[in-house]
């Protein structure tokens, strides 16, 4: 390999916006090709070394352009993978939501709401609106085997949380994955300490499930905000923020109603965690860019 060829490869390596291991493999592959081509040319025509190297490099064209094309190919793959993971996260969130429905007795909740707010029938009414669906699901759980019920009620929410934390950890590291978890515990503890935690009247099994939903929605919102690249992601982010805001406002406008307070708490929590995660990710990204810039200098 001549110094010019090494310079070509190193210039292309710098422009590859891919994980280090992947970029190294691509450069290694191109190095084999460049070297073989170069040696073939030398052997065939006995040309001067400089000329053979220049011709071999010409076949590759512009180093930056080649890097850009390879980036595009691999980025497309990453985007597809991200979409698959996002769909998985949403499905898990839905599973968590149904786990909450299974965990709460609708008649018991209506009774609790009636007792808590005897002068305000709206809370009971809201629970009543959801009751048909809820009752159907509750009926289903009553006809399942006890072991299956236990699995759904206890294991599933924890699995949802575990998978989500694992997903964030793989993408951003374990420290960051634990941030939303601890933040949630801090908020829950505060709410319980002040006697404002709206889920005290539910079965104890509902609490991990509600945590799971809040954690999933918050972290999902955070990830969407942090990956601000494609139009789809912008639309998803906009919709997430809009839905969370509406839920939050609706919840605040009906602060005397048990279920609405619960909704407000969850939606508000999703916003807080989402924005906090976003802030931390942006901060980390800027720190990373700063380090790269100083390394380049």
């Amino acid at each position: 390999m001549t110094p010019e060829m090494e310079q070509f490869l190193s210039s292309m390596r710098e422009n590859l916006n891919l994980p280090d291991a992947q970029a190294e493999l691509i450069v290694a592959e191109l190095r084999v090709h460049l070297q073989s081509d170069f040696l073939d040319r030398l052997r065939r025509s006995g040309r001067p070394e400089v000329e053979a190297a220049r011709e071999a490099m010409l076949e590759f064209g512009d180093a930056m352009g080649l890097a850009r094309e390879l980036n595009a190919e691999h980025a497309l793959h990453s985007r597809r993978m991200a979409m698959v993971r996002n769909i998985g996260a949403v499905m898990l969130a839905l599973v968590g939501f149904f786990a909450v429905l299974f965990a709460c007795d609708p008649w018991g909740l209506m009774h609790v709401v009636e007792r808590l707010f005897p002068r305000n029938p709206n809370g009971v009414m809201i629970v009543g609106w959801l009751a048909p669906l809820w009752r159907g699901l509750w009926w289903m759980t009553q006809h399942l085997d006890v072991a299956v019920q236990d699995t759904i009620l206890q294991v599933l929410p924890l699995v949802v949380v575990g998978l989500l934390v694992g997903h964030i950890a793989r993408a951003r590291g374990w420290v960051l994955a634990l941030v939303p978890w601890f933040l949630f515990w801090a908020l829950t503890w505060q709410a319980v300490a002040r006697g404002k935690f709206p889920f005290g009247s539910m079965t104890h099994l509902a609490q991990p499930a509600i945590q799971a939903i809040a954690l999933v929605s918050g972290a999902y919102l955070g990830r969407r905000l942090a990956n601000w690249h494609s139009r789809t992601q912008k639309v998803l982010t906009g919709m997430s923020v809009l839905v969370a805001t509406i839920l939050y406002l609706v919840g605040f406008s009906r602060t005397n109603e048990g279920l609405a307070v619960a909704t407000a708490f969850m939606a508000g929590y999703a916003c807080v965690v989402g924005l906090a995660t976003w802030g931390v990710l942006i901060l980390l990204r800027r720190c990373g860019q700063g380090r790269q810039a100083s390394a380049a200098q």
Partner: protein, 117 residues
């Protein structure tokens, strides 16, 4: 190879790569050399377009790759056809034959049909 040849080559690059790999696993430089050799240098593949195409085909599951260690010299990345790649090659061959026949019917003027009415 002029600009119009390059345009034709770009449209058929994936099929050419699939056809070369149909005879066995090869690494990037070998693929380029094979195409050049089989066409007597008429189709001169730019390496700058070969590698993005190879990576895209691997991403789409048409090719699989493997790094082979060698006792002498650097290790090489060999590409081979997957089952989906074989199916794609078969479909490409059929499509190319239909396309070639269709173009021939327009471009190739037979003596009986030639001349003014």
């Amino acid at each position: 190879m002029d600009r119009r040849d390059s345009e034709l080559l770009r449209g058929t690059l994936a099929s050419l790569v699939l056809a070369v790999l149909d005879t066995g696993p090869r690494y990037g430089y070998e693929i380029a050399k094979q195409i050049r050799g089989r066409t007597d240098g008429l189709l001169h593949l730019k390496e700058g377009s070969l590698y993005p195409a190879l990576h895209a085909m691997e991403r789409d599951g048409l090719l699989a790759s493997e790094w082979l260690l060698r006792d002498t010299g650097p290790s090489r990345k060999y590409y081979r056809l997957t089952r989906r790649g074989r199916k794609a090659l078969k479909a490409d061959r059929a499509r190319w034959e239909r396309f070639r026949d269709a173009v021939d019917t327009v471009l190739v003027v037979r003596p009986a049909e030639g001349g003014l009415p």
